[in-house]
Amino acid sequence: MMVKPYGDTLDDGAVQLSFSLPVPFSGKAKEAARQLVIKMGFAHCDIVHAAPLSETFTFFTAYAKTAAAVDFDRVEYVEALADKSLSMDEVNAFIKKNFKRKLVVVGACTGFDAHTVGIDAIMNMKGYNHHFGLERYPMIEAFNLGAQVPNEALLARAKELKADAVLVSQVVTQKDTHVGNLTNLVELAEAEGLREDLLLIVGGPRIGNKLARELGFDAGFGPGTYAEDVATFIVKKLEERRSR
């Protein structure tokens, strides 16, 4: 099924845009903005608002129609989790039944990144939004290393603790810093021969499963994740590996 943006009529292609141009505010600037939107490939464009930002910049808001469409059936996307997540109790029962030991999970916010709220939400006892964190899970031993942890230190600790899974949080993504940092982690893990025995999982507001997989992680989790989501992924994935 080909899908196109929808405003008030199927396939009308309606899109709202806003942007600034380094030109002084004027009628000509508006026309330039309109032409630019057309150049972007839109079929029709109304510059509905223009305002000077300074003597040399102008801000525009536009409504335009695009002819672009996407074949929805061909969009490839796998969620980290195929089904609904298990509850905390179910996760524990699952571990007890299948592994007969506690699983070890090490987490950190790595590199320069000091945004711990996300990884804390997943790991800390108290959790997030009334969803308990992994520290609360009886059958999981969770170690939260906190902020600005170098990749090397994280892997060393994982090795030391014989971790089953490593959880990485990346929040600062400007200039794609996270991509470099995450790639480095995977490379290090491979170099140290740890990759096979570890689940590598990354999360953060700009992270998706797709990106994570591309970077060599086992899974990626975005905004709105709760501990049980990661926990479910971990136990299912480990079970899958074990039973191979």
Partner: protein, 531 residues
């Protein structure tokens, strides 16, 4: 019908302004004095639209091959008989041909000419009328009962104010998608905006329609389609979703009839809007509004009056008094049509210039004032429109403050402002953004009205008092001139309308001594209207 409902639709009233009760009473008295002579005129007259509406309530429906509706075909052929009431001819034909209304309608559509049919005897007419009006009445009562039962069943999910959105794609099927999505997102009320200029058509188009400019035709079939769509979501959401249309323009009474039959829940309906903003003849409008309000009252349909329109052409600071004066007049005419207060969605709007210092405080004053003066009425509060521009981000901020003001003053019916107001009729996502904004704001400052007081003799309180006193003065002036004269002289909305000018004047007729309208008689009885 008895006034059994608690006025759930009116927000909570917390009195803060110390408005003068005697002055409010004076204003009401003046409104009564103003509406009195007009009501006398109404009592002595009918219009072609009233007659068509009556026919519709007795069963007339359908259209001929050219799309001319059956009620119009009948009215055309009996043009000269309007003053006597057209229903007797329809009933006579039914009796004579032994047909059901549906069969007769087909015949009329095919060319059967009612003017050729001699009148049946009074007695048979009355029996037949009682039968058909009884059906009509039963259907309307069933609608009311259904609505009431759903409102009761879903009472837990009622919001205050109720969130009202419009759909206006021009295509009823596209409208359905948009309306259902809005309802799922939290809209309580959906209005299908009419296509540009339908108000000036002297007939109501027939059937489902897919072509309109800036709105969708109001037709009985479109009503039915949207009603079913909203009922479907209501069950899912456990929230009764109200449907609105425009009981306004040259076909005001007919739309009322269609709405009553199809269980609409609200109608835009104003006693003077058509005169002022659509240049419809004033006599025509006054007679039509009265009959349409009787129907709305019988069907338990909330009306939304059009005072907001004053502020789209006049300045909201200078002309606040005209809004209040019109509310008093609308209230009075509604009362005279047998309508309980809980059905009177008196209109006003958040239309102060956003550049005005303390404009928001003046808005609070105006909204709170309306609330206190009309405590049982489910006030209809309109969003900023005139000062909305293509700057959607600024527009969103204006709507945010509007949502705040509405909740802060306990409004009843809250029309959601669209960030794209100055650009296009709402896109699917525009409505979503509006609903989420209102839900966020109104939850975040939910009890503001209870928690906050206005400074004694402060700007807010003084402003409200001033507007009330100006409105009372204005009503005094109108009383002196008489309403017809006042409109002629341009006291409302800065437009002047001659008494015998405007559209639809030729559709007004004096009731002749033999005038008979069984529907009107029944409605009057039901609503307890004398005379």
């Amino acid at each position: 019908m008895k006034d059994k409902h608690t006025p759930k639709t009116a927000g909570k009233v917390v009195y803060k302004l110390g408005l003068s009760k005697p002055l409010i009473a004076v204003a009401r008295r003046r409104a009564a004095a103003i509406a009195g002579p007009v009501q006398d005129f109404i009592a002595g007259h009918t219009t072609v639209a009233v007659e068509r509406a009556t026919l519709r309530l007795l069963g007339a429906d359908g259209a001929n091959a050219d799309g001319v509706p059956v009620p119009n075909l009948i009215a055309q052929s009996l043009r000269e008989r309007i003053g006597s009431g057209l229903s007797q001819h329809y009933l006579s034909a039914l009796l004579r041909e032994g047909k059901t209304p549906a069969q007769l309608n087909e015949a009329v559509a095919a060319g059967y000419d009612l003017s050729k049919v001699p009148l049946a005897d009074k007695k048979s007419l009355q029996v037949k009328a009682r039968e058909l009006a009884g059906w009509m009445s039963k259907r309307i009562r069933a609608n009311v009962a259904h609505r009431d039962s759903k409102l009761k069943a879903f009472a837990a999910n009622v919001k205050s104010p109720m969130l009202y959105v419009i759909v206006a794609t021009g295509n009823i099927y596209e409208d359905v998608k948009q309306a259902q999505a809005a309802a799922l997102q939290g809209a309580d009320i959906v209005a299908v905006i009419r296509t540009t200029a339908q108000s000036l058509l002297d007939y109501v188009p027939y059937g489902a329609t897919t072509q309109g400019f800036g709105g969708t035709y109001a037709t009985q079939e479109n009503f039915r389609i949207m009603r079913a769509a909203l009922d479907e979501v209501a069950e899912k959401e456990k929230r009764y979703i109200r449907l609105v249309n425009y009981c306004s323009g040259l076909c005001m009474p007919e739309i009322a009839a269609m709405g009553a039959l199809e269980r609409l829940d609200m109608m835009l309906n104003d006693s003077m809007y058509g005169i002022l903003f659509r240049d419809i003849n004033m006599y025509r409008t006054f007679v039509d509004q009265n009959f349409s309000r009787m129907i709305n009252a019988a069907a338990d349909i909330i009306i939304n009056t059009g005072e907001d329109n004053y502020l789209t052409t006049s300045d909201a600071v200078e002309n606040a008094d005209t809004v209040l004066a019109s509310q008093f007049i609308n209230e009075r005419f509604a009362l005279q049509a047998g309508m309980p207060k809980r059905l009177m969605g008196l209109g006003h709007a958040f239309e102060m210039d956003p550049e005005l210092k303390n404009g928001f405080l003046l808005e609070l004053a105006q909204a709170q004032m309306a609330r206190e003066i009309f405590p049982e009425h489910p006030l209809k509060y309109m969003p900023p429109t005139k000062f909305m521009t293509g700057d959607v981000f600024k527009g969103l901020a204006m709507n945010t403050l509007f949502n705040f003001a509405s909740k802060a003053t306990g409004q009843g019916i809250h029309l959601l402002g669209m960030l794209t107001e100055a650009i296009h009729t709402p896109y699917l996502q525009d409505r979503y953004l509006a609903i989420q904004n209102a839900r966020y704001v109104m939850n975040s400052m939910a009890d503001f009205a209870d928690e906050v007081e206005f400074k004694k003799n402060g700007l807010i309180v003084r402003r409200a008092r001033q507007v009330l006193s100006e409105a009372a003065d204005l009503l005094g002036q109108v009383e002196k001139l008489g309403l017809f004269g006042a409109i002629e002289q341009g006291l409302f909305a800065e437009v002047k309308r001659p008494k015998n000018g405007g559209k639809g004047f030729d559709g007004v007729a004096e009731k002749s001594p033999d005038y008979w309208n069984p529907v009107e008689d029944l409605l009057k009885k039901q609503l307890g209207i004398r005379g």
